[in-house]
């Protein structure tokens, strides 16, 4: 509005990080609370367990953050991840590829899923919700078809399970998978904040028409953004398969919503144009810590999703309050 013209000197950055500060504060509060509630919560092994539980959804959430900032949505990440797990099983066990090739192949396969999503959305003009809903079902079915509804075991490559489970710090059981997750967080944060791709994601999300009229090839960049989200899906699928040392063809439905929940709790707007990787990671950790803490304190499981649901509502409401005040 014109009334808040030049004199409004509250820089946008500060109010944005306020939300993150609030989310981070909530995370600390939850951590402290559970530490008092149970003596077994704040132990190295339980904290590492939380990080492991956050790894797969967290990696999915990283890719989804880009998609949501660009004003899109991706519902295919949960079952897409399962399909990528099956594909790494196919490559390594059925086709006898070496581990590195099987892993790379599955990650690229994830990229392909994302590419198809991006193509359907920006070239065929299918709305993101529908395009990725379709892909969610296709991926779920293909996992079963390709695997013959049976789990695929890595008989030829028992070392594949080390990708997730190898202990990088001797004596501490800090798994390689968690380290990969932490590295991916940094990579995603740098891409979002420091590269042309990140800049276009924000631009497309805040005003797609204006970005297009500025001479940006929006269709191309949307395909790139969805493809990149797909690569994260591929990595998540490989790590999930490695953790169980088997590619389980069933499941994955609902994981996409957990990832989206993490993104939203972290202050990313579903309308696009706003959000950050740090926020998403705080969101993912809040969900993981809550779920773990409620289990450690033996809260009945029925109540666990009630609590997580309420946290999402509160987080989004706080964001709305902040916007009103700003």
């Amino acid at each position: 509005m014109t009334t808040i013209s030049l004199k409004n000197r509250i820089p946008a950055k500060i109010s944005g990080s306020l939300q993150q500060l609030f989310a981070f504060g909530s995370l600390i509060v939850i951590l402290v609370f559970f530490s008092f509630a149970s003596p077994y919560f704040f132990t190295t092994s339980n904290l590492v367990g939380i990080l492991m539980a956050a790894t797969v959804t967290g990696i999915l959430a990283l890719g989804t953050t880009f998609v949501i900032i660009a004003g899109g949505i991706d519902l295919s990440i949960g079952t897409g991840m399962i399909l990528c797990g099956v594909m790494t099983g196919v490559f390594q066990t059925y086709w006898g590829w070496p581990v590195w090739a099987g892993v790379l192949g599955a990650v690229l396969f994830g990229g392909l899923i994302g590419f198809v999503n991006g193509f359907n959305i920006s070239v065929l003009g299918i709305p993101p919700f529908i395009a990725t809903l379709g892909m969610m079902l296709v991926a779920s079915g293909l996992s079963l078809v390709i695997s013959g509804t049976k789990p695929i075991y890595f008989k030829e490559h028992p070392e594949f399970q080390l990708l997730m489970n190898y202990s990088v710090i001797p004596g501490m059981r800090f798994p390689l998978g968690v380290l990969i997750f932490l590295i991916l967080i940094v990579v995603a944060a740098v891409i979002l904040a420091k590269t042309i791709l990140g800049r276009y994601a924000y631009s497309i999300g805040s005003n797609e028409a204006a970005t297009e009229l500025s001479g940006v090839n929006v269709a191309k960049w949307k395909i790139i953004i969805y493809s990149m989200a797909g690569l994260f899906v591929g990595i998540a699928g490989v790590l999930a398969a490695s953790r169980l040392s088997s590619a389980q063809p069933v499941g994955g439905m609902g994981l996409e919503l957990e990832a989206i929940a993490a993104v939203v709790i972290g202050g990313t707007s579903l309308q696009g144009g706003k959000g950050s990787i740090v926020g998403t990671m705080i969101g993912a950790l809040i969900v993981a810590v809550l779920t773990n803490g409620l289990r450690v304190t033996a809260v009945p499981q029925e109540w666990q999703s009630v609590v997580v649901g309420c946290v999402i509502l509160v987080a989004v409401y706080m964001d709305i309050l902040r916007r009103k005040r700003a």
Binding site: T2, S5, L6, R9, P11, T211, S214, G215, G273
Partner: protein, 511 residues
């Protein structure tokens, strides 16, 4: 206009109203008295406090201090609905209509007539709407879809809706921004019919020449403060403007002579679009401003959008610096050095929620990234600061969000975007729409400078004085065709309108 004999106690009075938002004193000890039977204009630059005043009167926000009186009684609206019930209707600049509903459904939204207390009665709804439309003399049908109507007709729906509440005070914010002359006259007719000794209108506008036609008195605001109230009949436009901006502005300037070499930079031949544009051919020379005049819907914006590849062309060639270029999307146009500044800035021009810095480099990000795609933020910051100072964009810093800038500075931000992209050809579509008088002059000066630097400029405008003042040559369009290209020296408002209405079947147009 209403004679002085009808003036009694104020219909609506504002006494010492103040309001501040975080970091801004938006309104400071504001005064206003609307008399019975009066059309009272409120003018001021953007940021002068008009919108805040409207928000307070309609109950969207509460004043920090001060009082309102309606017919001498304290008036404290708690929300827009409450204000409506008390007899105060507001028509906002941006229309609040639902395009997928009919005219009748829009007018009676929230108070639909019921049959048997439960079911909606479309027949009753349409009957009441038809009565209302007839009473107001509006050429609308109750069951037309609002989305199918022109902007002018949508505005009529908005007015009918406001009047259907039996409003006593009608507040209109820039009602003529999207209207052509005929439609403006229709609107003024409506306003005159509405005004009775029992009612009044507060009319907010940027268009100075309209004030003398429609208003009785005019209140001037500046920087959130009340400046003065004048009788319209006994004051001049120059007087009002100087009070608004604190200095005099010359409204009858003509452009400097073309400075360029005369080489054509852009040549368009036989441009067609599927819907409207037919065989449009023209050239723009280096250092020249080519004005595009015409009525709303004549196809000027369509020519621009087809030219930059935002819409599909149906034949026609475009040559830049004598070489033919193929443009099928805005990215191609940008590559060929053509930048388009849309009439609808918020939708097509800027990223409201991003910073000035992000906006000005949007069209040229690859220039600011290294080969790995990493942004070189130092260069971005330097370019942004350079252009903020070169174009005199008033912002606390390049990191400020564009939504916090005034319309004129938003427009300059869009200009900066295309200058950083190194465009030789700039197409300005209604460059001063929604921009206040003081800032208009700055945009004009900027256009002159750009032309002097050798840019080729197309300026689409519905404001004839603006066209005459700025353009070296004037292309006139009517119903998708180019009907004339006039040299500035030969052009008058009259002959432009003559060419703009050549194929018109809807009678003559007065100016």
């Amino acid at each position: 206009m209403v004679s002085d004999s009808l003036i009694g106690a104020a219909l609506l009075e504002v006494r010492g109203a103040s309001k501040s938002y975080p970091g801004v004193q938006a309104l400071d000890a504001m005064h206003l008295d609307l008399r019975h039977g009066e059309v009272h204009a409120v003018v001021g630059e953007n940021g002068a406090g008009k919108s805040t005043l409207m928000k307070l009167l309609s109950g969207i926000d509460r004043p920090d201090s001060g009082e309102f009186f309606l017919d001498g009684q304290p008036y404290t609206p708690t929300n827009p609905r409450h204000a409506l019930e008390l007899g105060i209707s507001i028509i906002h600049q941006e229309l609040n209509l639902m395009p997928d509903l009919t005219v009748a459904q829009n007018i009676f939204i929230g108070r639909e007539p019921r049959a048997a207390g439960i079911f909606l009665s479309d027949r009753e709804l349409n009957r009441r709407t038809r009565e209302l439309l007839e009473r107001l003399g509006l050429p609308l049908k109750p069951d037309d879809l609002v989305g199918d109507l022109t902007v002018a007709r949508q505005q009529m729906v908005e007015i009918a809706k406001a009047l259907s509440y039996n409003a006593r005070v009608l507040i209109m914010d820039e009602p003529t921004a999207a209207l052509n002359e005929t439609e403006v006259q229709t609107l003024f007719g409506l306003i005159r019919r509405f005004v009775t000794p029992d009612t009044g209108v507060i009319y907010i506008s940027h268009r100075m020449h309209e004030l003398s036609q429609i208003s009785d008195r005019v209140t001037i605001l500046r920087d959130g403060r009340y400046i003065d109230t004048l009788d319209t009949a006994s004051s001049t436009i120059a007087q009002v403007i100087s009070l608004m901006v604190g200095r005099a502005i010359n409204a009858d300037q003509r452009p400097r002579a073309a400075t360029g070499s005369g080489d054509p930079v852009l040549s368009v031949k036989g441009l067609n679009t599927k819907a409207l544009v037919r065989e449009v051919s023209f050239e723009v020379r280096k250092g020249e401003i080519l004005g595009f005049a015409g009525l709303m819907g004549a196809g000027r914006t369509e020519v621009a959008r087809a030219l930059v590849g935002a819409d599909r062309k149906n034949g026609g060639t475009v040559a830049v610096h004598g070489r033919e270029v193929s443009i099928s999307n805005p990215a191609d146009a940008a590559k060929a050095g053509i930048g388009y500044l849309s009439e609808d800035r918020k939708r097509y021009g800027i990223l409201l929620g991003r910073s000035v810095r992000d906006n000005v480099v949007l069209a040229s990000l690859p220039k600011f990234a290294n080969s790995l795609g990493f942004m070189q933020d130092n260069n971005v910051g330097r370019a942004a600061r350079d252009f903020v100072s070169k174009l005199r964009i008033r912002t606390p810093s390049a990191g400020q969000l564009v939504q916090n800038l005034s319309g004129g500075n938003q427009q300059k931000t869009v200009v900066a975007k295309w200058l950083i992209r190194d465009c030789d050809i700039l197409i300005f579509d209604e460059p001063t729409r929604g921009i206040d008088v003081g800032a208009k002059d700055e945009i004009y000066a900027l256009l002159d400078e750009l032309a002097a630097e050798g840019k080729a400029i197309i300026m689409i405008s519905s404001d004839l004085p603006e066209i005459l003042r700025m353009s070296h040559r004037i292309a006139v369009m009517c119903q998708g065709r180019l009907t004339a290209i006039l040299d500035n020296a030969d052009a008058t408002q009259e002959n432009i309108m003559h060419h703009a209405t050549r194929f018109s079947a809807e009678g003559t147009v007065t100016t």
